[in-house]
Amino acid sequence: MAAAEPDFLTPRPARVLSRRRETRESVTIALEAAGEAWLPGQFNMLYAFGVGEVPISISGDPGRPDRLVHTVRSVGMVSEALCRLRPGQWVGVRGPFGSTWPLAAARGRDVLLVAGGVGLAPLRPVVSELCRHRPDYRRVTLLYGARAPGDLLFRRELERWGHRVDVLVTVDRAAPGWTGDVGVVGSLLPRAAFDPEGGVAMVCGPEVMMRFALADLRRLGLAERAAWISMERNMHCAVGLCGHCQLGPAFVCREGPVFRADAVAWALGVREV
């Protein structure tokens, strides 16, 4: 058998450099990069040897190209296997794939990031970029909601980011000792320094949460073409060939996962699309 022809369905082995447990369910792993250029919003297909492959957004800092960072939430066999990886072990990588968050379009404008649960992970590269090039943007606010205090990701970075951008955090349900806000992430909107005329919003989280957040933003007066969301669907090939990730005419792996809200608002309003 010959060595594999370079093929988009063939993963390259990548060594795990570090591992950090974020929450009960989530782990952040850093993989040795191989020079792949990637942009915030994109994802890799991560292959756990013999178990399977899943799409995971890149959650690292674009300013550190030596490593590919992913925050994995354990929801099934493959993600569980990825969460159990230790430094020095190997994983398969295919990618990067997909569309990107509109950082260029956001230049010179107010930026509002609305993240729910593990949805903060795909937005983390955006926050890194915004902090690094802070003067290029007007007012920047991150609204972050999670289920409970124990489910908050990147807690130390949230504090650090707070020095450069406004960070408002809330949980759906409090726990003893929690002195932060309680309530849905949409309730933080009135406190965001954000002008809906000219501002740009990026929303990421469970589909229900994004739908409600878009409704709140619409109520605030933000045009749908000024909001972006990140969609998720079942993916096998990640290159628009296997047919699984279709959202109407769009392949979420190619035209997404980042979509401008006006392109997919119709799909959010139809059941089982």
Partner: protein, 370 residues
């Protein structure tokens, strides 16, 4: 154009085989016409025709005694260019825990497809647009496609399930083939009108015992194609792509869901359906494998994510299939995904008719669901 005596059809098979092509053509198996290896003209289902309708397929003796007197069987040419199961690669771990992926690169077979109906020829062109896109070409499809020799055949009869004419095709292929045959049987004898569509087609044609086509041959072919077109009764409503774009809430989806078994037959027999599942497995030696196999949007697993299926109901799955085939396919690839072969109508156990469903939706576009 040339004419080949019907009795010498075997020479075409022999010439192809001499040049190294494995000839795949219509053969009789288990009460139906299917595609298998053809070693001589005797393997073809001469003297048989088919009677098809919604949920119905029967073979019958044909008094015309033609080689291609049937219309088409359950199978299309899809499995020969896009195999139902394909091993993509295998990998083994080394002592360091890393692994090396090894591709399974068998030589793609040289296959000559003998008797490609124009609807199936169009379907191959539709799949070319799917698999041979600029940015991500499927390497296996490309190899098989390059090593495929296409011999089209004009339809001398239409089945009740055919509707190619309303999909922009017709009983006679105009392009996309290496050779095209039209079987004629009249006072001038039993013969094939043969046209070459490519250089390699012309080279092969030169080896066959043909004579130049006469005006009677050409006219006979035109008349035959027109007569076959005249037999077609079903049609796809015009503008269906636009209608379906706005019909996600149409009540017809719930109505067809009562009948649809989600059995996936339609996606299996369809010559253009391309959904594939990627499966990762291990064997007892500890080696890992990645395979690709046909999948269907009618399964619950197709849209599985986060503990549930996005397309939980049969209604939503039928809607996905029909809307993709006739509407969003156009947005994705520039043509309709349907070529009017009618297989999905014949092979649906619930006798659901794609043209009837499309017409029902087109008759009351939009539709609201309470």
């Amino acid at each position: 154009m040339r004419t080949l005596p019907a009795a010498r059809l075997g020479d075409l098979v022999a010439a192809l085989r001499r040049r190294g092509w494995r000839v795949i053509g219509p053969v009789l198996r288990e009460g139906a016409v299917t595609y298998g290896e053809v070693e001589s003209a005797a393997d073809l289902p001469r003297g048989w025709t088919d009677r098809q309708d919604a949920g119905t397929y029967r073979l019958e003796r044909d008094p015309r005694d033609l080689f291609f007197g049937f219309t088409l069987g359950a199978q299309s040419w899809k499995p020969f260019l896009f195999p139902p199961r394909l091993r993509l690669w295998s990998a083994e771990r080394d002592e360091g825990g890393s692994f090396e992926v090894r591709g399974e690169r068998e030589e793609a077979p040289m296959q000559a497809f003998l008797g490609v109906r124009p609807c199936d020829l169009a379907a191959i062109a539709v799949q070319d647009r799917v698999f041979l896109r600029g940015d991500h070409t499927d390497p296996d499809y490309r190899r098989r496609r390059e090593r495929a020799f296409l011999v089209a055949v004009t339809c001398g009869q239409a089945a009740a399930t055919c509707f190619c004419t309303s999909m922009g095709h017709g009983p006679r292929a105009r392009s996309g083939f290496d050779l095209a045959l039209t079987e004629l049987r009249d006072d001038a004898g039993h013969r094939f009108l043969v046209e070459a569509g490519t250089e390699r087609g012309a080279e092969l044609l030169a080896e066959l015992p043909t004579r130049p086509a006469r005006p009677g041959d050409r006219q006979g072919a035109e008349r035959l194609a027109a007569a076959t077109a005249g037999q077609i009764t079903r049609r796809m409503p015009a503008g269906i792509a636009g209608v379906l774009r706005d019909s996600y809430a149409h009540p017809r989806w719930d109505e067809v869901a009562v009948r649809c078994l989600a059995c996936t037959n339609c996606t299996l027999v369809c010559p253009t359906c391309f959904c594939m599942a990627v499966e990762d497995t291990t064997d007892l030696t500890g080696a890992a494998h990645r395979d690709r196999r046909w999948d269907s949007c009618f399964t619950a697993g197709h849209s599985y994510i986060h503990g549930g299926s996005v397309h939980a109901s049969t209604a939503s799955r039928y809607r996905q299939w029909l809307t993709h085939k006739l509407s969003t396919w156009v947005d994705q690839f520039g043509t309709s995904g349907c070529t009017g072969c009618g297989r999905c109508i014949a092979w649906c156990p619930a006798a659901i008719d794609i043209t009837e469903e499309a017409a029902a939706i087109a008759a009351s576009p939009g539709g609201t669901r309470c």
